[in-house]
Subunit: 150 residues, 2 copies
DNA sequence: CATCTAATTGATAATGATTATTTATAGAAA
DNA sequence: TTTCTATAAATAATCATTATCAATTAGATG
């Protein structure tokens, strides 16, 4: 896990660079996300924020998440069956381990790419049932089109 | 790709085994899914069905998909940013290649697990930007609990 | 410090995919 | 044919997310 303090400062720097304001609500969110060990959902972030800022709107959470995603300062795990979850500590794609029953999400340590499942199972105690590996990119047609994403 | 005819017959067998009826709408769906080269969404299946059965309801599509999922006769790609898509030809987890612009989904050929992205890029012409690898299973707590999934 | 203005917030409506509900229909079994 | 149950169709409900817009405020400027 990256140093939360450092992540926080980095994100603040990026926000300022882009001319974005640092509101109290945003700062509170950045604090939560810079740790974000539990890969919180928007709803969970919302609940945490409301402890300090009871009037905060869920819309603000979503808007700020969207902003941070565009700056690559938060990574969204958009797997449908668990809903969207966010990682502001490691804001880039990486493998995840999801409990299909309770929805807990872990970041397995991840060295070589062979015998992985077994290794992860040993590390975490999870009984691994299946995995999903998805590659993203631009198909040849879209590369040629060279237009903005829809 | 598996032989669509064989997949169709296999799925029909499983349905009968479970005492499910083979209605015209279902048969039409099974035909589409046994090919399902394009990994269609529920909406896309709906449109295809309506060519032959104009009164078919979207709810029926969803119910049948749910039925087939439970029998492992269709695999659901539940990645949020592209919505749910279905594969009735290879009804088990496998890697996918998704164009982040047009949403096209391919099944890359997939041998060893090293130098994969580069290999896939060569095969398909995609420019690969990132990937997502997700492991699923039961966390230690849920294994002990031994209850039905929520 | 006071003023100004665009960025942001909060409240709420809208959206869109999926699920639930309810009534009608259609094969299978008696 | 009658009865029974699975399924279909139509539609309402749900739920996460996004859009809208008036009110507020961060932060620059004087």
């Amino acid at each position: 896990m990256a140093d939360p303090q450092e992540r926080l400062e980095q994100t603040i720097r990026v926000l300022k660079d882009k001319g974005c304001r640092l509101t109290p609500q945003r700062l509170a969110m950045l604090r939560i996300l810079s740790k974000s060990e539990g890969h919180p959902s928007a709803e969970q972030i919302y609940e945490q924020i409301r402890a300090d800022y009871p009037t905060t709107s869920l819309a603000t959470i979503y808007k700020t998440l969207s902003l941070l995603k565009n700056m690559n300062e938060v990574f969204e795990i958009t797997f449908a069956s668990v809903g969207s979850h966010y990682d502001g500590n490691k804001p880039y794609p990486h493998p995840h381990l999801i409990c299909t029953k309770c929805g807990q999400i872990l970041d397995p340590e991840f060295g070589p790419l062979a015998g992985i499942s077994q290794e992860i199972s040993r590390q975490t105690g999870y009984k691994i049932t299946h995995q999903q590996l998805i590659f993203f990119g631009l198909c040849p047609k879209c590369q040629k089109a060279g237009q903005a994403p829809e």
